[in-house]
Subunit: 218 residues, 2 copies
């Protein structure tokens, strides 16, 4: 049996380990989970004993295949619930996270497979992140950051890097959603702000925004 707390640690290690193939550090986990390093040490020892992680003192942790499987399943559940909340219960994309954090821990194979079918097997969540299928396979799309585009590129908005409420509300306010088409018109050398055109309307986007918005060149 995996406890709720263990699940949360496994999820944190998974997310922190996704980029950079190195081991995940104790402090990084502590920061992510808003807890103390000493608590993390205790827990990673336990995860290691239970076979969910590989851990050597002072060397950080990685997930075993068993641990990865659990992590991916939690991610799958989280993202499916987010789709449900937005598509069926009219949540906006900045409201779904904390509820999905709770729902992701519900244990029932049938629940998730039926939910998946009910939602017609979605491949991406409301923030554009891919939903792992029942076997754990994750479809990658070749997205880049808006900040990495070239002048003249025609793009389609496919995801966000940061999904904080403030950022998502900014996008809503400026009528940027997943699927929105935009053209990169100009990059200001001084501050790297970008002028984009959505339909006929021009909009200036700060570098910070452009660094958190994923697009696909179309």
């Amino acid at each position: 049996m995996v406890t709720l707390t263990e699940e949360n640690y496994i999820k944190a290690i998974y997310h922190l380990g996704k980029y950079g193939a190195n081991n995940v550090s104790t402090n990084a986990i502590a920061k992510e989970m808003e807890t103390k390093a000493s608590s993390v040490t205790d827990m990673v020892k336990k995860l290691s004993e239970k076979g969910y992680a590989d851990y050597k003192k002072y060397q950080g942790v990685t997930l075993t295949n068993k641990g990865k499987e659990i992590a991916i399943n939690i991610v799958r559940k989280h993202r499916l619930w987010e789709v449900f909340l937005v598509e069926k219960l009219n949540f906006s994309w900045d409201e779904v996270h904390e509820v999905a954090e709770q729902l992701e821990h519900i244990k029932s194979k049938k629940l998730i497979s039926q939910l998946d079918a009910f939602l017609e097997f979605p491949t991406h969540d409301p923030h554009g992140d891919p939903i792992p299928d029942k076997t754990g396979k994750i479809k990658k799309i070749d997205k880049i950051l808006l900040s990495e585009t070239k002048i003249g590129d025609d793009c389609i908005c496919v995801g966000v890097q940061d999904s904080s409420s403030d950022f998502l509300k900014y996008l809503d306010k400026n009528n940027i959603a997943l699927g929105t088409e935009l053209k990169v018109c100009h990059r200001e050398p001084f501050d790297n702000s970008i002028t984009i055109k959505i339909k006929t309307k021009e909009l200036i986007i700060s570098n910070m925004i452009a660094n958190n918005l994923f697009v696909k060149i179309s």
Copy 2:
């Protein structure tokens, strides 16, 4: 903050206290929750300190209004989720309970009010039990046990007393569901079994079954 465990105790006290206005005994709670009496004593002390229950040593407990409010809210969530599982995710009525036991603890006002709307404000769950509204009001219907009917009564099936999987599967097998119309034809004095007619088909029902099926005289 009410912990998950506290919520489960509050729910148990609520259900045990519903019939019989007396205080709920320590042992009754222990049995219901499959735990030890000593654990119950500790917890009811805590619930009492927190203002959710009234408790005097050796005298059992009752819920305060604050406790009752929490209990009713859990019941509301449990039953709404049951409707969701059956109506939207194609669960059968004997499969919903354990999943709903988990879902009932999810904390989000918006989630429940939106779910309620999505389900079009159902008044009863898949077992015929009433769903409290957002203010906690519970609509009672004048149901009686099938065992209490008179010969010749025309009834409509409106609920079950026991919702164990075995019982619900028995009903499925015999094509008895909520809304099924039936006529009471004969009562056997020896074992109190009852002959009922559904449409044109006669069926003999044991006293034990009749004691667990609620009907409304139509």
